[in-house]
Amino acid sequence: MSISSGDTAWILISSALVMLMTPGVALFYGGMVRRKNVLSTLMMSFAALGLVGLLWILYGYSLSFGPDIGGLLGRLDFIGLRGVGQEPSPVYASTVPHLAFMVFQGMFAIITVALITGAVVERIKFSSLLLFSALWLTFVYAPVAHWVWGDGGWLAELGALDFAGGTVVHICAGVSALALALVLGPRKGFRDGQPMEPHNIPMVMLGAGLLWFGWFGFNAGSALTSGGLAASAFVATNASAAAAAFTWMVLDWIYRRPTMLGTATGAVAGLVAITPAAGFVSPMMGIPIGMGAAVVCYYCMLFRMRRQIDESLDVWAVHGMGGTWGAIATGVFASVAVNSAGANGLLMGNVLQLGKQMAGVAAVWLFAFGATWVLAKLVEVTLGVRVSGMEETVGLDIAQHGERAYGGALR
């Protein structure tokens, strides 16, 4: 097939939108930490734009999307973008340049790494985080992406559906975040209930706004063409985000007050949950999926806090559990009437699909948790993972980066 200028425009702008999500995550997280750690938090996401941006074109794309090796990994044929050119790929996205498909996928890899960092803010050593990120991209993200989206990947073959990354991006990031946080241990003072007040909630809202905006590229862009399916995924995405934001706000209200932080978090939870489903379910199904996401993530967050686990910014609760709910909900609500390349779900009488979805979820949970744990331990015994107690007290901005966020005449 030949290149469509409309489809290409859509994939390129979608790639740019997904790129913007990484600064969006930086701000979303950066506003939630204490003033002394904001640059460190921003830096962790921003550095992913550099590091993962490079590794992806060097070998990451090939590991994920290269010719299949036993359903598990891609061959290194595309190393250094060899053979990835201005013509469409023979197997992926047949109406856009192979390079466009490659870079769209690259933006997903970058943000997935950035997402994890929410678990480890305010105490991780920056050098260790970089090392971990490189290892994780190679040994966790790339294989999982291949399983689910690679031509011949075993989960794809099995028929597990993941439209835009519910398993690859969100479960992967959320579960790995949990494992990494467990290895790293809690922040000083966390267990004593020392308040760790977010230092800038408008920054969080700005981050959430950019995420919502960028997510249209993430989900509707995953149609890989510009037409009915992209429009359907777009509407489903917005519906789920709206439903989840609203539901979280109501939950907040039932317990206390409707907060900005909660509403923004709810929006993100809704966007996460619709991700695997966006192009497989009818747009109105965004509403139950979003509402469910808010409820699931809300109580998972509560559970996490009760267990005194310092998975600091709730990557597991929002992305891990939101992604899990979304992947399962895909098995419930999917319909071939929406996307003939998809499948019917439980509501259309196909109980099998739900099983496939669960298999996919289980596989990714186990693999991501286990592999991340091993990698984290590896980094721990080599570089060490935490800054010193004194550095933690002083704040990572000064201790690790030699900067402070808000300079001035006096402070």
Binding site: P195, Y255, T259, G262, M301
Partner: protein, 112 residues
């Protein structure tokens, strides 16, 4: 000369300022401080959780006046800053040995 240091509620700055002005005291220095006392902190929310902020925002007013003016200023502040609830704040009176007006170099009572 005495220095009056009043710690008051943020929202009472306006009335106190006015009360002092009405009593003829215009010059003063204020700053943002945080205080803790009988008034318990406020609970704030953190996504699904809650945390208590111990130190609440207060305004500190610093005002140097002549000895004779102390009762009047204290009264003005006291009356205008009161709500009757915990957290209304405190007024402290400290001795001042001298004051200098930078612009002119004048010292002592003339400097105030």
């Amino acid at each position: 000369m005495k220095k009056i240091e009043a710690i008051i509620r943020e929202e009472k700055l306006e009335p106190v300022r006015k009360a002092l002005e009405d009593s003829g005291y215009f010059g003063m220095t204020i700053s943002e401080v945080s205080g803790r006392g009988r008034q318990k902190g406020i609970p704030l929310q953190w996504r699904v959780g809650e945390y208590r902020v111990d130190f609440l925002p207060k305004i500190k007013i610093e005002l140097v006046v002549l000895d004779d003016d102390v009762p009047q200023t204290v009264h003005a502040i006291n009356a205008s800053a009161r709500t009757g609830d915990m957290g209304d704040g405190k007024i402290f009176i400290l001795p001042v040995e001298n004051a200098i007006r930078v612009r002119t170099g004048e010292a002592g009572e003339k400097a105030i």
